[in-house]
Each structure stands twice: as structure tokens, then as C-alpha cells.
């Protein structure tokens, strides 16, 4: 098991400390920024269920480093005391009533299955 605690990014700005950031770090200009190592790419691959070949891995590392450097532009922005906004509109309490509206859905559910056995999806064995 890979422990993320061991996967440290070499970064001077990733402490998540809003508003306490030097101003010379401006977007694209940051070139020394992030270093993504093999372990991190491997770990993210496990999370995302993507396996990358050697070449793809190098490309992914470079891409992610660039992207993270660019994203660092945000650190210029003082967001202290700002409430994170997940929904743009104050829409609340959208519910449905507890009434059965669906019948036997098995045929439609299974219609696109890559592999099915009778009325179930077949997958590689999950527990050894």
C-alpha cells in the first residue's frame, strides 16, 4: 500500500495556507514549481484506475507539473474568510415523494452489459 504521507510534492506553495503567499509567484512564470515523482503518478493511477506506460507516465508527470504550476496563480488570490461556493444558486430542499414509479428494469439495466450471466453482470472475482 502506498501511503500518501510518503508522497510529498516538492513545492513551496502547497501548504494550503490562504493569503500567506509571496507575490512573485504569478501563474505561468513559475518555472521551478511542482515536481511530480513516479510514486505520485503511480498513486494517482491507483485512485483513477489508469495504468500508464513508461512514456505516458513521463508525459503525465510533465503535464501535471505544468498544470499545477499554472494553477498556482490562484495562490495570489486572498480567499481568507470566503465561504467555498459549491452551488451558484440558493436552491434547497428538492425532494421526491416515496412512491414506487419504476417496474422491472432488469432487461434495460442489462441491455448494454459487456458480459452478463443470466440476469447479472459478470465481473472478475472480487474476493480471493
Amino acid at each position: 500500500m502506498i501511503n500518501l504521507m510518503n508522497v510529498k510534492l516538492i513545492s513551496n506553495e502547497m501548504n494550503g495556507n490562504d493569503g500567506n503567499v509571496s507575490n512573485d509567484l504569478t501563474g505561468k512564470e513559475v518555472s521551478m514549481g511542482h515536481r511530480i515523482d513516479d510514486e505520485t503518478i503511480e498513486y494517482v493511477g491507483i485512485l483513477a484506475k489508469l495504468s500508464l506506460t513508461g512514456q505516458e507516465k513521463e508525459k503525465a508527470k510533465a503535464d501535471m507539473e505544468k498544470m499545477l504550476d499554472y494553477i498556482d496563480t490562484l495562490n495570489e488570490l486572498d480567499t481568507q474568510g470566503i465561504e467555498p461556493m459549491s452551488h451558484v444558486f440558493p436552491v434547497n430542499n428538492v425532494f421526491r415523494d416515496d412512491v414506487i414509479s419504476n417496474g422491472d428494469g432488469s432487461e434495460e439495466t442489462l441491455a448494454n452489459a459487456p458480459l452478463r450471466k443470466n440476469n447479472e453482470f459478470e465481473v472478475p472475482k472480487t474476493i480471493g
Binding site: M5, T40, V44, L50, D63, Y70, L74
Partner: protein
């Protein structure tokens, strides 16, 4: 003028007047598709059989007087990100294989109710991730105005199909500019309504908090009528918002007197192509001459929009796209050892490079130890961007922006540098972050003869205001065109 390029409204009127039958309308679009689509590649899937069958039903209803909608019998295309019952839906990805949804998107059903006829599914950037329609598994779409150039993206197939006369109008989806930017590149009208206006049910999600469905069309009137048809509170989408009144088409007054238009100076400075800026500012002048009050102002926070957008969209995408795993539908790798290897092989073989890039980024920014620094930070930045727009809309009715920093780039140019490609969304992404409505309309061409789009941004739920301004511009230009034609005679 190419018959296929008439507006949906004009075509609808001709069908109603029996000047043209529904079948003839279909014939003419399918004929056009057969002529041009081998080159342009707007479509991934055509559904001729279903369309002709539907045409008969619709014709009968029109004849009986049961169907009076302006869209009755009008053929349209839908971006392949929208589920269509029984018709292959691919998101331009290998991973969906020959997936045939068992239900249709609410927007598709609503158009069906109006008697509009779906003729095919259009090409797009894979899972709507891209700005050029080059990341499609089914090959790139070309810009009908210049076949060495991209049509924009991600709704590039929809935009190209409308511009090339391969359908009367099309539906697209817009997460960071994916309707407005290709509409600009292809010289047509595209509108992204306020978040929540059109149900997202049946829209295969990319960035759920940003995605909206909208029309791409040949006229502002078409856009308003289509938007009227597809806007509704949907019980199947918790984030859809009902309104007391829609009536977008009814609000199309040819009048902008006293309308307050703000031009963000930070949108028209560095980074914007000079020719594009000139064409747009000339178009703004048209509105000013018609009585609008135009002022420059500082919107601020512009450069933070793209990093904010990419964190939020990638994070949501990494989760939304995890359902594609080879278990329930679509592609499954045939060479694997055990469950997790099946997941990895299926997804690695099934997704293209850009999609994988965003899934990796999204998984990373949500991972343990980074959530606060990236994701929460982006949600806070989003709040600030929203505030900046609130301040602007306290002063202005409409904000004018370019649809894109340049006209359509050549094929292959953008993918070389992802960040450069991301930057081409700079004038469109903030609108998604703030949930605002935005429309792009064609306002002229650059020196190479490529279309330039002007974007009009409104405050939430104020589609009518931007539609009115867009309509006023369109009418003025049409009149000028007519006058010029008269002079030539």
C-alpha cells in the same frame, strides 16, 4: 442562399404552409450530409430510419393541425453527449463502445414533443473535454469556413453541422464555453442559458456544477425558440430551476435604447487578437448607435477563471467518469488479470489522452492532503468571481466579451500545448463558474475570412436581455445587408 442554411423558423413556416414536406426537408439535409460530411466529419451517428419514421408521424400531426410548434418537422442534430433512446451515444469516446441509452435526455424529449426531428448525433471533443473537436475518438471535425481549421469545441460537430447546412439547428453542451466558442469559430449563434434552465437529465456529465445544454442555430430568433422548447423545471434534475415565465421568443424586441452595456477592459487588452477586438468593438458600436449606453470597466479576477475552472471541472470529471469501468456498459478490455487490472486496462485503452490528463489532475486535486489547497481554494475563488459579476451587473445589463481570443486555429496547433488551449476559453469559463447566461453571435470576419463571434453575457435568469441585444444587432446588420444588396442592383 443555400436552402439548407435557412433558419429553423423559416423552414418551420414553409413546412406548416405545405411548401415543403417534412420528408423533403429530411431529404435535403441528408443529401447535404452525404455531400459534405466525408470531409467535415460533423456527425458520429446518423439515425435516418428513425428520422423518416418520425417524419411520417409528425407530418400527419401537422396535417391534422395537432402540431403547431414553429419547430414541427424541423430536422436537428444533437451533440453525442446527450442520451438518445435506442440510438448509439458515444461521447466521442472509445469507452462507450456501441452504448445505446435506454432513455432520452429531457431536452431531446422536449424537442420531440415540439415535433422537431433528430437526424443524427454530432462529433465533439471526447467527453466534451477540449476546445477544438480534435480529441474525438472518431477523428476531428473540420471548420466549414476553412477546412484546414478546427470548428472549435467541444460542440464542434454541432457548430460545423449548422454552419455547413447539415441540419437546421443543433443542441450542444457548454461546461466552459463549449457552445459559445465553436459558434464563434463557425459563424453561427450559440447560447448557454443560466445554470439550471435546461434539465441536465440525460446529459452525460463532465463538470456537473458547470454543464448546461443549449442551442446552436442560424439566427437569434431560432435560438430563442429552441430555448423556449427545451427550458423547463425537470423533476429528474434536482439542480433544474423553474421560472414563472419563459417566453424567450416573445421577448425578442428589436430595441436596445437605454440598455447599459459594460465592456471589461481586462477582456480587451493583452491576449486578444487585434483583428478580433476590432470586429467586436465595431459590433458594439452598432448597438451604441441603436441607443445602448456603452461603458468600459474593470471586471477583475479574469486570470483566475481558468485555473479555478480546471480544478473544479477536472475534479468533478474524475468522479463523473469513474462509472466507465467495463462492468455495466461500453467497452471492456479483453486482456486483463483480475478485477483491478480490468478496470485499469479498460480505462487506459478506452479513454483518450486529454480525458486521462483531466482525470489524473482531478483525482490528484481531490486526494488526501490536497483537497483544501486546490479544491476548496477553487470554490472560494469561484465565490469571488461570482461576486465580481454581481458588482458588474449592479451597473450593467449586458457585458460584452469576445467568444474567443482568436478566430479558428489550424488543426493540430492547439493540442501541442494544453495550457495554451485552455487559455482559449478565457472569455467563456467565468460565465459557467458564475452560472450566467451567455450568447455568441457572428459579427464579422477577420482578414483571412474567418468568422468572429461576439459574446453577450447577462445576469442570472436574464436571457431575455442578451437575446434582445443580440436580436437588435442581427436585425440591424440584416437591414444593412439588404440595403447594400439593393445598391449593387
Amino acid at each position: 442562399m443555400d436552402n439548407n442554411l435557412m433558419t429553423g423558423v423559416t423552414l418551420g413556416k414553409k413546412i406548416k404552409a405545405k411548401e415543403i414536406s417534412v420528408k423533403e426537408a429530411l431529404d435535403s439535409y441528408y443529401k447535404k450530409i452525404k455531400e459534405v460530411d466525408l470531409q467535415i466529419n460533423s456527425y458520429i451517428t446518423l439515425c435516418e430510419e428513425e428520422a423518416y419514421q418520425r417524419a411520417e408521424e409528425v407530418q400527419e400531426k401537422i396535417n391534422k393541425g395537432e402540431l403547431a410548434s414553429p419547430l414541427a418537422g424541423v430536422p436537428y442534430a444533437a451533440k453525442d453527449v446527450l442520451c438518445t433512446k435506442g440510438i448509439r451515444t458515444t461521447c466521442a469516446s472509445k469507452i462507450l463502445g456501441d452504448f445505446k441509452p435506454t432513455f432520452s435526455a429531457t431536452a431531446i424529449e422536449l424537442l420531440d414533443n415540439e415535433g422537431a426531428i433528430l437526424i443524427g448525433k454530432t462529433n465533439m471533443d471526447e467527453f466534451a473535454m477540449g476546445s477544438t473537436t480534435e480529441t474525438s475518438y472518431y477523428g476531428p471535425t473540420l471548420n466549414p469556413h476553412d477546412k484546414e481549421r478546427v470548428p472549435g469545441g467541444s460542440s464542434g460537430g454541432s457548430a460545423a453541422a449548422v454552419a455547413a447546412g447539415e441540419c437546421a439547428f443543433a443542441l450542444g453542451s457548454d461546461t466552459g464555453g463549449s457552445i459559445r466558442q465553436p459558434a464563434s469559430y463557425c459563424g453561427i449563434v450559440g447560447i448557454k442559458p443560466t445554470y439550471g434552465t435546461v434539465s441536465r437529465y440525460g446529459l452525460i456529465a463532465y463538470g456537473s456544477s458547470l454543464d448546461q445544454i443549449g442551442p446552436l442555430s442560424n439566427s437569434v430568433e431560432d435560438a430563442a425558440i429552441i430555448l423556449d422548447a427545451i427550458s423547463a423545471k425537470d423533476e429528474k434534475d434536482s439542480t433544474s430551476v423553474g421560472r414563472d415565465e419563459y417566453g424567450f421568443a416573445k421577448a425578442l424586441a428589436d430595441d436596445v435604447k437605454g440598455l447599459k452595456i459594460g465592456i471589461p477592459s481586462d477582456y480587451f487588452g493583452e491576449g486578444l487578437n487585434k483583428e478580433v477586438a476590432d470586429v467586436i468593438l465595431k459590433a458594439v458600436d452598432v448597438l451604441r448607435q441603436n441607443g445602448a449606453i456603452v461603458e468600459e470597466f474593470d471586471l477583475s479576477l479574469v486570470k483566475y477563471a481558468i485555473p479555478t475552472y480546471y480544478i473544479i471541472a477536472s475534479a468533478e470529471a474524475s468522479s463523473n467518469l469513474s462509472r466507465f469501468d467495463g462492468v455495466k456498459y461500453g467497452f471492456r478490455s479483453d486482456d486483463f488479470e483480475g478485477l483491478h487490472d480490468m478496470y485499469k486496462k479498460t480505462r487506459s485503452e478506452g479513454f483518450g489522452a486529454e480525458v486521462k490528463r483531466r482525470i489524473m489532475l482531478g483525482s490528484f486535486v481531490l486526494s488526501s492532503g490536497y483537497y483544501d489547497a486546490y479544491y476548496l481554494k477553487a470554490l472560494r475563488a469561484k465565490a469571488l468571481i461570482k461576486e465580481a459579476f454581481n458588482r458588474a451587473f449592479a451597473k450593467y445589463d449586458v457585458i460584452v466579451a469576445p467568444g474567443s481570443p482568436t478566430t479558428a486555429p489550424k488543426l493540430g496547433e492547439s493540442l501541442k500545448d494544453p495550457i495554451q488551449m485552455y487559455l482559449s476559453d478565457i472569455y467563456t469559463v467565468s460565465v459557467n463558474l458564475a452560472g450566467l447566461p451567455g450568447i455568441t453571435i457572428p459579427v464579422g470576419k477577420d482578414g483571412k475570412g474567418l468568422p468572429v463571434g461576439m459574446q453577450l453575457i447577462g445576469d442570472c435568469y436574464n436571457e431575455k436581455t442578451i437575446l434582445r441585444a443580440a436580436y437588435n444587432y442581427e436585425r440591424t446588420v440584416e437591414e444593412t445587408k439588404c440595403q447594400n444588396n439593393m445598391k449593387q442592383l
